[in-house]
Amino acid sequence: MIAIIDYGVGNLFSLKSSLAAIGAEAVVTGDASAIRSADKIILPGVGAFGDAAAKLRETGLDRVVISEAEKGKPLMGICLGMQLLLEKSFEYGEHDGLGLIKGEIRPIADVIPKELKIPHIGWNALSFKGEKSKVFKYINEGDHVYFVHSFYGAECEDSVIATTEYGASLTAAVARDNVYGCQFHPEKSGDVGLRILKAFCEI
């Protein structure tokens, strides 16, 4: 059973459907005991970092996610959910993240040429970094995935498992031990995205 964490941020319909499509059992929940009894956790999220981090904290789910991850339970953060795994973000102020992965969230605008549009929206290719991650078991270097973001993971080089090129090399996915994060949306990335979710489910 996979727990998709519901903390009042974003639309979880497609994520739940995509897991169903690969035959994975998933429950959308904000209940701490359901999260603790799940085999795996997915932390989704869209919107602003500060609001999302505050909601996770208000519900106490931040501590649940951290303690489950520290016990070794596979955890995947998606989009803003990935960003929340890092230590902090500079999106409208400065906000603390979960700190499960070293690094911080900074505006794409700091590193890309001015003429490029923000957000970075659309299908872009993955370049793998280091040894091929387990979550990429069923996909290939250069496969395209769907991105929608204006901020990116910085100072997290040690954990980067894939980057994408948008006027600069941007963090596309991170991993540290049992904790994984995708800046892109696997649930909106067609077959490639489903294969990433499938690999995560098999960890």
Partner: protein, 253 residues
């Protein structure tokens, strides 16, 4: 490198795709779910569904269908048609839409874009503008292109983006249905004033029109079309291969 998107557009009435679709190998050519699956496997980068139903019953059928599509198709889905309030955004987003496109609703209530963007984020709000030249000036048309609002189009689009629209679909009424190519002049005028993705619509008749579009206007992010895809005049696989051959970045599946 970010790829150029190819987007088929499906008009849905009472839960069925209309405007005649003609495909071999599809058992039910007016089933939105079957068509969505067909286009997704053919390499469509995104799908746009326009609800052209006027009745409440039709609206309910539309959301049922949308939910079914979103349960099976895992590429971005944009929904338009009948979006007049934030509650309409909520209704389609809950059924699996990723983006919501507004047209007449934003003309009637210019606050709609601002309110929706604040609630759901800019990336979720698409301004779809029907534009036609009147005495040499680009004018915004409402009600499916039947009514001249008198508003100057480029300024209108700039204002919508300023209010939080994260993407622009520009439908040129002048080139729509003519199949003589996209309206490059109009698109260029829009690209000059906004820095969000611009989706070209209206006028595609063959593969070359897409090549010309992306070659001559590098700031255009996507090409949208309906009947040429539905009638199989242009196959998305062929189109993307040809764009790739012309060094235009595309996602090949």
């Amino acid at each position: 490198m970010i790829t150029k998107r190819i987007i088929p557009c499906l008009d849905v009435k009472n839960g069925r795709v209309v405007k005649g679709v003609n495909f071999e190998g599809l058992s039910d050519v007016s089933s939105p779910v079957e068509l969505a699956r067909y286009y997704s496997s053919a390499g469509a980068d995104e799908l746009v569904f326009y609800d052209i139903t006027a009745s409440a019953e039709g609206r309910a059928l539309f959301t049922d269908i949308l939910r079914e599509v979103a349960t099976q198709i895992f590429i971005p889905l944009t929904v338009g048609g009948g979006i007049n309030t934030v509650a309409d955004f909520d209704r389609v987003l809950k059924c699996g839409a990723d983006k919501v496109s507004v047209n007449s609703g934003a003309i009637r209530n210019p606050e709609l874009i601002y309110e929706a963007a604040k609630l759901y984020g800019d990336q979720c709000v698409v301004i779809s503008a029907d534009v036609k030249r009147v005495d040499g000036v680009f004018r915004v048309f409402a009600k499916g292109g039947r009514e001249n609002t008198g508003m100057e189009a480029i300024e209108w689009i700039r204002r919508c983006v300023g209010n939080g629209a994260g993407e622009v679909v520009l439908n040129s009424i002048d080139t729509d249905g003519v199949k003589g190519g996209f309206d490059l002049e109009m698109l260029d005028a829009v690209c000059q004033v906004v820095n969000v993705p611009v989706i070209a619509s209206g006028g595609a008749g063959c593969i070359d029109h897409f090549t010309t579009l992306f070659k001559s206007l590098p700031k255009v992010d996507a090409g949208l079309a309906a009947s040429i895809f539905h009638f199989g005049e242009v196959k998305i696989e062929d189109l993307k291969r040809e764009l790739h051959k012309n060094n235009i970045p595309v996602r090949l599946s």
